[in-house]
Symmetry: C2
Subunit: 252 residues, 2 copies
DNA sequence: CGCGTTGAATGATCCAGCGCAAATAACCGC
DNA sequence: GCGGTTATTTGCGCTGGATCATTCAACGCG
C-alpha cells in the first residue's frame, strides 16, 4: 500500500493477467447457481463462458445496447445505473462477485435496461444470452436460483420505491449505508468500514438525491458521531443510531 | 347498469357463484405460464389450485403474513401495496387476470413483502407455495416464464425508482396514466378510458405523491385538455401531449 | 327527492431539498 | 514539495410539493 494514500478502503488488487481461465473455473465452481450440479455439468457450463477484464470506470454495456450477453462478476465491483435527464445517474445496484447481470428475461428484452460500469478493476464472465437460456432450460435448479435472485432484487427495488415516496434523504442514506455494511462491511478501527470506493456522488445516485445534499447529510452524520468518512469511504460507528434514523424512530 | 351511476368505468360483474371450478379450468388453461403443456399436465396442475372469491376492499394477505401461498388473478383486479409511516400506501402494482402474485422466491421469503387487496370483485386461484415450487422444478418452461414476468416487474420497479429520483409529480402521473392506458385502455367517447376504478388516492399511491397533489395535477391536465376525468375514473384525450409531459420534452 | 357519506378541489402556509457557486481539502503526477 | 485536478463542504436563495383545512360535488340509500 502506498504510504501516501489515506483511504481505509483496499483497492481491488486484480492484475490484468489474473482475469484468467483459472479464475473462471474457480468462480463458476463456487457460484450458488450451479451448486449441486455434477462436476461434468459444471465443466460443460464453464465452456460457455469467457472471461473479460475491465478497468475502473470502463463501461461494460450501455442502456439500449442489444442484450446479447449475460455476465457474472468474478471479481471486483460493478455499478448498475440508469440515466436521468438531470445528468445525475441513479445507481440501481452495486454488484459483487457471484452476481449475475445483463438482461435476465429469456424472451423480452432486446436491449439492456441499465448501464453496467466497472467501479473497480473487474473480471467478468460473459455468456451468450441464448446459451444462458439453454442452461436454464436444462437445469431447473439453476432457473429457480436465478428466479430467487431476481425476486430478491424486485423486493429491494420496491422497497426503494417505498422509501423514495415517503422517507427523507437522511433516512434513505442511513438505510443505504446499513445495507452496504451488511454486504461489504468490515470491522476496522475507523468503524464498520464499507469496503468499496463510495463517493458522495455514488451515495446520491443510490438514494435519489444530489451530490451536494448527500454531502450535507454525510457531514451531519459524522458531526453527530454516527459515522467516520473521508474521500470515497464511509465507516459506521453507531449502527443502532443509524438504524433508528433509517426507520424513522423518534421525532419526526 | 344503474341509471344513476355516472362513471364510464364498468364494474367487475362477477357474481359470487362465478368464482367456480369451471372458471378455474378456463383460466389455468389460458395462463401463458402453462402454455404449451400437454392437457394431462394442465389437468394435474389444475388440481393443485383452489379458487377464492374476494369483495372489493377485502385484503387477500398483509405484508408480514407467512408466505404460504401463491395466487393467480382469475378475474377482477388486485392492488399490491406497501405501507408507509405516513399512512398513505404506495401502490406497487395493479394486477389483472393472469398475473401471479404472492411471494415468488422459492426459498427466501418467510413473509409477504407486500399487501394484496381486491380492488374490484376478484376471483383468485391459490396454490401452496411448495406445490408451486414443485411445478417450477418439474416444468422448466413454466419457471422461465415466471422468471420473465419477475424480470419485467424488476425493470418497471427500477424505472419507477429512476422517475421518483428525477421527475416531477406531473411527469410521473403522465407516465403512469399512459402505462395504465396501455394495459387497460378502451377507446370511448370520453377518450381512451382506463377501464378500472382509479381514485386520486390510488394515483397518488402509484406515483409517490399525496392525494391532494395528485388531485391538483389531474385538475390541471383536465383544464389543459389532455384528459377527461371524474370520480374514480380517467380517460386520456391527448396521448401525444401526455407522452411529452411524461418524457420531459420541451421547457424544463 | 333529501340526506348523509365519500371523494375531489382548492387555498394558504411551510419547508426539505435543489441549484448554483465559491471555498476548501485530498489526491496524484512530476 | 509543488501545482493541478478532483472531490467535498458549505452558504444562500428558491420552489415544488407536503400539510392541513375548508368547501364543493358526486353518489347511494331510504
Amino acid at each position: 500500500m502506498s504510504e501516501r494514500r489515506r483511504s481505509p478502503v483496499e483497492p481491488e488488487s486484480i492484475e490484468p493477467h489474473m482475469c484468467s481461465l483459472d479464475l473462471r473455473l474457480e468462480i463458476i465452481g463456487k457460484l450458488p447457481f450451479f451448486e449441486g450440479l455434477p462436476p461434468a455439468e459444471i465443466e460443460r457450463i464453464n465452456q460457455s463462458f469467457r472471461e473479460i477484464g475491465y478497468q475502473p470506470g470502463e463501461t461494460i454495456f450501455f442502456t439500449g445496447d442489444p442484450a446479447v450477453r449475460l455476465y457474472v462478476v468474478a471479481s471486483g465491483k460493478v455499478k448498475l445505473m440508469r440515466h436521468t435527464f438531470t445528468g445525475q445517474d441513479i445507481l440501481v445496484d452495486i454488484l459483487t462477485p457471484g452476481d449475475v447481470f445483463g438482461s435476465l428475461s429469456t424472451l423480452g428484452d432486446e436491449t439492456y435496461p441499465n448501464t453496467a460500469q466497472a467501479q473497480t478493476m473487474v473480471c467478468a464472465l460473459a455468456i451468450n444470452a441464448e446459451d444462458f437460456r439453454r442452461i436454464l432450460a436444462t437445469y431447473p435448479t439453476v432457473a429457480l436460483k436465478v428466479l430467487d435472485m431476481t425476486s430478491a432484487r424486485l423486493n429491494e427495488a420496491q422497497e426503494m420505491v417505498r422509501r423514495l415516496s415517503a422517507h427523507s434523504v437522511e433516512q434513505r442514506i442511513a438505510y443505504t449505508l446499513l445495507k452496504l455494511a451488511e454486504k461489504l462491511g468490515e470491522p476496522q478501527d475507523v468503524g464498520l468500514l464499507i469496503q468499496m470506493p463510495l463517493s458522495r456522488e455514488d451515495l446520491a445516485g443510490m438514494t435519489g438525491t444530489t451530490t451536494a445534499t448527500a454531502s450535507r447529510v454525510i457531514s451531519q452524520l459524522q458531526r453527530d458521531g454516527l459515522i467516520n468518512s473521508g474521500r470515497q469511504w464511509v465507516a459506521i460507528t453507531d449502527v443502532e443510531a443509524l438504524r433508528e434514523i433509517a426507520e424513522g424512530v423518534g421525532a419526526h
